[in-house]
């Protein structure tokens, strides 16, 4: 019996378990997936929680609900990968052998990387919304907050879903307008990038949107520490930003097991080929999603598009053929802009987000790089699509390769 082992039962691991179980013969291939946690979080939903639009129940389901029959599931912490000997050691001492390994261990926020961030104000006046705990604490805080300096800060790139911080400030604008508090809330978007977004055309459109909504942008701010006494952010070049409520996107790292296994870079992201998704170290190890050091967004849409490529390339590797498929960096995402509207961007390694219509050229129904109501409905519908189609590895009417059709140069 040959063995395919998948580490991580998040979005990437779950999709791959579904796709590969459908392709590999059951009497020849044993598929096992390992994860330390039993709960699957719909992470795009965290954004909606601080504003009372989603509750906890809207974003959690058991992981086992999305894994197919015929896949072994082990809930256990992973110690390390021994690539030389083709096995993975779990924390309880069990060793799992593999013929092929998929690493889908994701990324996590590490507030501890920034001095003072997890200080006395943590989850009192300093919040993250990339964890369920942070999002819920912020929802509670906003219920009674009388207003003041609301600062959103991105500590460093890369982060999961690089548009979520933009959506957050636009939601905050709408939220406080609706509460009649907007004149008491000053919103500032503090980023290490040189604008609202780094891809030039999207940055311009999104930067203009923020300006229209009276949201300040402070760019090229690289966070060194959070001063809990003075309640200021301090950058490496000694700039200071005062806050009454700080919403932080902490530094992101890969899983520590990647470092222990010697497969990652200094941030514990797995070193892998950006087109083939194969590990730089071992030809029978592949990587999907946030766990990799790919120069692309850490986002579910990337995972979804990579899954098609990985399925193809894994079958090539299994059948001893050269890897034929190449991931092009395709990513797309809805951007909530508040007041029931949204924008949509679609891009890859080489092409920046452009205006146009999506997915059908000239028809849409979604508009690229512009605010429409339909884009907002797209985002809301996506939660259903995520649970029922995407995780199960079923076909979607969007190609994994980006297309220029429908885009305007």
């Amino acid at each position: 019996m040959k063995k395919l082992l998948i580490l991580g039962a998040g979005t990437g691991g779950t999709i791959m378990a579904n796709k590969m179980r459908a392709l590999l013969e059951r009497d020849e291939w044993d598929i096992t997936i390992v994860d330390q946690f039993r709960t699957h979080y719909y992470q795009p939903g965290f954004l909606f929680i601080p504003f009372g639009m989603y509750k906890k129940d809207d974003v959690v389901k058991p992981k086992t609900s999305f894994l197919p029959v015929g896949v072994n599931i082990i809930f256990q912490e992973i110690d390390r990968i021994d690539g030389m000997n083709n096995h993975v050691l779990l924390k309880d001492g069990i060793s799992l052998n593999y013929d092929f390994l998929i690493i889908a261990t994701g990324t996590r926020v590490v507030p501890e990387e920034t001095p003072g961030m997890k200080g006395p104000l943590w989850h009192k006046q300093v919040f993250d919304f990339y964890t369920i705990e942070g999002a819920l604490a912020l929802a509670d805080f906003f219920k009674t907050w009388p207003g003041g300096e609301l600062v959103l800060n991105i500590a460093d790139m890369p982060i999961k879903c690089p548009v979520a911080p933009l959506e957050f400030v636009m939601f905050a604008d709408a939220f406080f307008v609706e509460r009649g508090l907007r004149n008491k809330v000053n919103i500032t978007y503090v980023t290490p990038m040189s604008g609202a977004f780094t891809k030039p055309r999207a940055s311009k459109v999104l930067g203009n949107l923020l300006a229209e909504k009276n949201i300040n942008i402070l760019s090229d701010f690289y966070l060194e520490r959070v001063d809990n006494v003075k309640k200021v952010l301090v950058s490496y070049d000694e700039k200071e930003v005062p806050f009454d409520c700080l919403v932080t996107i902490p530094v992101h790292k890969g899983d520590p097991l990647i470092g222990r296994s010697g497969l990652g870079d200094e941030m514990d992201f797995v070193k892998a080929h950006k087109h083939t998704l194969q590990s730089d170290h071992f030809p029978n190890i592949f990587v999907i999603g946030d766990a990799g050091n790919f120069p692309t967004s850490k986002a579910g849409s990337v995972v979804h598009f990579q899954a098609d490529v990985l399925t193809e390339n894994l079958m090539c590797a299994i059948e001893n053929r050269p890897l034929t498929d190449a991931y092009d960096g395709h990513s797309n995402c809805y951007i909530e802009t508040g007041f029931g509207k949204g924008a949509l961007i679609d891009f890859n390694y080489d092409t920046e987000p452009l205006p146009g219509s999506f997915p059908f050229p000239g028809i849409g129904p979604f508009g690229l790089l512009k605010e429409t109501r339909m884009n907002h409905y797209g985002k809301l519908m996506f939660r259903w699509i995520y649970w029922h189609i995407l995780l199960k590895g079923k076909e979607m009417p969007i190609d994994s390769k980006m297309t220029m059709a429908g885009k305007k140069m």
């Binding site: 790139m157 890369p158 090229d220 060194e224 490496y236 070049d237 080929h273 120069p295 692309t296």
Partner: protein, 103 residues
């Protein structure tokens, strides 16, 4: 695509002045570009530039933190070498495209 003449050599650059072909880079060109950015290059600068070029050649993402963790210099020191926006300035002087980690 734009071209720029630096120290008598014509190189391919973007509108913002980033090299589009890192192979056209030389130490002499780096010194000239650095001057435009108000930076006088030292050996320490070149250690950092070489690290950045190697990482870029391998297709790995580049951030200020990754330079700070390189063992060559810490983040404060990186700011000292390339004040203001160290990653962008260093990328420009190192003759590589604007860092793609900013996505």
């Amino acid at each position: 695509m734009a071209q720029k003449v630096i120290a008598g050599v014509t190189v391919d650059v973007t509108e913002e002045g980033y090299f589009t072909n890192p192979a056209q880079w030389t130490r002499e060109l780096a010194a000239e570009i650095a001057k435009e950015e108000g930076v006088q290059l030292t050996d320490k600068h070149f250690d950092v530039l070489n690290f950045i070029r190697e990482r870029f050649a391998k297709g790995e993402a580049l951030t200020i933190r990754s330079v700070g963790n390189s063992g060559i210099i810490d983040i404060k020191g990186f700011y000292g070498l390339f004040p203001g926006a160290p990653m962008k300035k260093a990328a420009k002087v190192a003759g590589i495209p604007k860092p793609a980690s900013c996505i």
